[in-house]
């Protein structure tokens, strides 16, 4: 089975974020980047499917030069080759999810894969739509928030997460697209051998085409969230803070 995993590179989860001058995005000068966590689970699922039933795993990402490091890491984990859609981050930021999905869809069409996997959402924008839009653009069936994937004689049988602890199995023919939920598998680390091998694996870099239509939505401004509650911050030594908390638990919260 030929599998493409669409990956996004995002700032590290514990990054200290500050708003850039102009107020349209974060100041990205000193940020370190990593693979979007749900996409890491999508990659893991693809690698396990390949181990079970053979085939090829291709990782695909759009972004500036720094994206190459995330693709290389995926190759070190076991992906066979990478496609990097080279795009300036400012230019990408001006586009919306639909325009970005069109870039990915063009690259995917050229490969004609059996299966496309991606994470259920990104840790930065969190729009959670790229996968579904891709499936629509490619004219293939999809399912979202997937915990398990099983290859059947007629296609796939997947376990989809619903809300409140409910699940559902869904069957579909191939080619298909799935968005993968975090936590379904245990993530692997790249081995030393993997890192060495990655150096000889091919990465195709293709330029991003200009958008064919103007964006439908625009990010006008980013801001720090307003506090929903007036938070009283407690300070001091551990013992002093503990004493203050006990006081609150007793006289304010009434649980002691």
């Amino acid at each position: 089975m030929k599998i493409i995993v669409a990956i996004k590179q995002v700032p590290e989860r514990d990054a200290q974020l500050s708003i850039a001058p102009g107020g349209k995005w974060i100041d990205d000068a000193d940020l370190t980047y990593t693979i979007n966590e749900p996409d890491a689970y999508a990659l893991e699922e693809a690698l396990q499917l390949k181990e079970k039933s053979g085939g090829e795993v291709i990782v695909l990402s759009a972004g500036p030069e720094r994206v190459a490091s995330t693709l290389r890491e995926a190759l070190a984990k076991g992906a066979d080759r990478a496609i990097h859609i080279a795009a300036d981050s400012d230019a990408l930021a001006r586009q919306d999810t639909l325009a970005l999905a069109r870039l990915l869809a063009d690259a995917i069409r050229a490969e004609a894969p059996d299966l496309i996997l991606t994470g259920l959402q990104s840790d930065d924008l969190g729009l959670g739509q790229t996968g579904v839009i891709l499936a629509e653009l490619l004219g293939i069936p999809h399912a979202t928030i997937i915990m398990q994937v099983e290859v059947t004689p007629t296609g796939l049988r997947v376990k989809r997460e619903l809300e409140d602890g409910w699940f559902q199995h869904v069957e579909m023919p191939l080619p298909a697209l799935l968005t993968i939920q975090s936590g379904g598998n245990k993530l692997r680390y790249a081995t030393l051998m993997g890192i060495k091998k990655a150096k000889s694996k091919p990465t195709a870099t293709i330029p991003a085409a200009s958008p064919t239509s103007p964006p439908a939505i625009e990010l006008v401004r980013v801001s720090l969230p307003e506090k929903q509650k007036r938070t009283q911050m407690l300070t001091g030594t551990a013992a002093e803070i503990a004493a203050q908390l006990v006081e609150k638990l007793q006289s304010e919260v009434h649980v002691l």
């Binding site: 514990d14 974020l17 974060i26 919306d96 999810t97 999905a101 840790d123 930065d124 969190g126 729009l127 959670g128 579904v132 629509e136 069936p141 399912a143 979202t144 619903l162 809300e163 409140d164 602890g165 409910w166 559902q168 199995h169 869904v170 069957e171 023919p173 975090s182 936590g183 239509s213 103007p214 964006p215 439908a216 939505i217 625009e218 990010l219 006008v220 980013v222 801001s223 720090l224 969230p225 506090k227 929903q228 509650k229 007036r230 938070t231 009283q232 911050m233 407690l234 551990a238 013992a239 803070i241 503990a242 908390l245 006990v246 609150k248 638990l249 919260v253 009434h254 649980v255 002691l256």
Partner: protein
């Protein structure tokens, strides 16, 4: 194009959409949001409900202050499929021509609404927490660390999904004069439905009912290792509290899934929610922001959990938690 169309979801308590279900609370919230947006635009608000044999539910909706209720009925909509719902809603939008289409931001909506928006060359503004004059839609970035204002600049319609709990369902306006119900029958064929869903199921009965616990001690990524869970357990024991966790802890298998609080776990509103090493991603906050008092301990003073906390401690949990357990035990003896 004019007016607001709200897509309403109904459940049977198990995510299947047959007619015996009830209108989901998040949909009532989206309806309240739709009414408010329509008022701002000086336009009407309508609702659409999908399924088969949904006359009673459509009747229930007609008691709300709405311009019209569309009962989108078809045998192929008896059970939810992305293909069925996408085709049906596309046809309804082409007929009704709304300027705004509002959804509750549920797992089901996430599965099909982006495809509908794509068919109109639009992008859904998803997981919106608020909207202002303009209209300008506010949504969260970076797991709740930042807010972003979005607006529609496309040729329309504008698609928006509302985060659970962002608008109170109590704000929903009812009407003495029932809204007219129009049955809309989309053209659907079996061949258009490419996926075959089976009946929803649960892995195991919820043996831990966190919703009944008056005090909850909850752990997140900040706890770092499975062995450290014992620190939180000791604090929970001292407080007579239930131990809960955010998703990554349950994903790692450090605590069972049934102890998870958040959009994919349980929704709780205890007297006290003590969050240890939890950053406060949106998916977690929706499950606990109804708590009466929230105490948060997290080393990152900018963690979003502090936005919903009454008392905050921006310090090392490995120092604070043992000291707190000790102080509570000392107080009790």
């Amino acid at each position: 194009m004019s007016g607001v169309l709200v897509v309403v979801e109904h459940r049977n308590g198990n995510g299947s959409g047959n007619g015996n279900g009830a209108i989901a609370r998040t949909s009532l919230e989206a309806l309240a949001g739709g009414q408010s947006l329509a008022k701002q635009l000086g336009a009407g608000c309508s609702a659409a409900i999908f399924g088969q044999g949904i006359a009673a539910l459509a009747g229930e909706l007609s008691g709300k202050q709405l311009a019209k209720v569309y009962a989108v009925e078809h045998p192929l909509l008896q059970q939810y499929t992305a293909d069925g719902y996408t085709h049906a809603l596309q046809q309804l939008i082409e007929t009704v021509q709304p300027a705004y289409v509002l959804f509750p931001h549920t797992y089901q909506v996430r599965d099909f609404a982006p495809a509908v928006a794509t068919r109109f060359q639009q992008t859904l503004i998803s997981d919106v927490v608020n909207f202002r004059e303009g209209p300008m839609f506010v949504r969260q970035l970076f797991q709740g660390k930042l807010n972003a204002d979005y607006r529609a600049v496309g040729s329309g319609p504008c698609f928006v999904s509302m985060q659970a709990g962002s608008i109170s369902a109590d704000a929903l306006q009812t009407s003495v004069e029932p809204a007219p119900v129009e049955v809309f029958t989309p053209t659907l064929t079996h061949a258009q439905i490419r996926t075959t869903p089976s009946a929803p199921f649960r892995e195991a009965a919820h043996t831990v009912d966190l919703t009944a616990a008056p005090v909850i001690v909850s752990v997140g990524r900040g706890i770092r290792e499975q062995d450290n869970i014992a620190l939180a357990q000791a604090l929970a024991d001292a407080l007579g509290a239930e131990l809960a966790a955010s998703r990554p802890i349950c994903d790692a298998g450090w605590l069972p899934m049934e102890r998870q609080v958040g959009s994919s776990g349980q929704t709780v509103s205890p007297k006290l929610y003590l969050a240890i090493g939890i950053s406060g991603a949106i998916q977690h906050l929706v499950g606990m922001k109804g708590s009466k008092t929230v105490i948060a301990i997290n080393k990152d003073e900018n963690a979003p959990i502090f936005e919903v906390a009454d008392y905050g401690v921006a310090a090392d949990l490995f120092e604070i938690v043992p000291a707190l357990t000790k102080a509570i035990l000392a107080k009790k003896t």
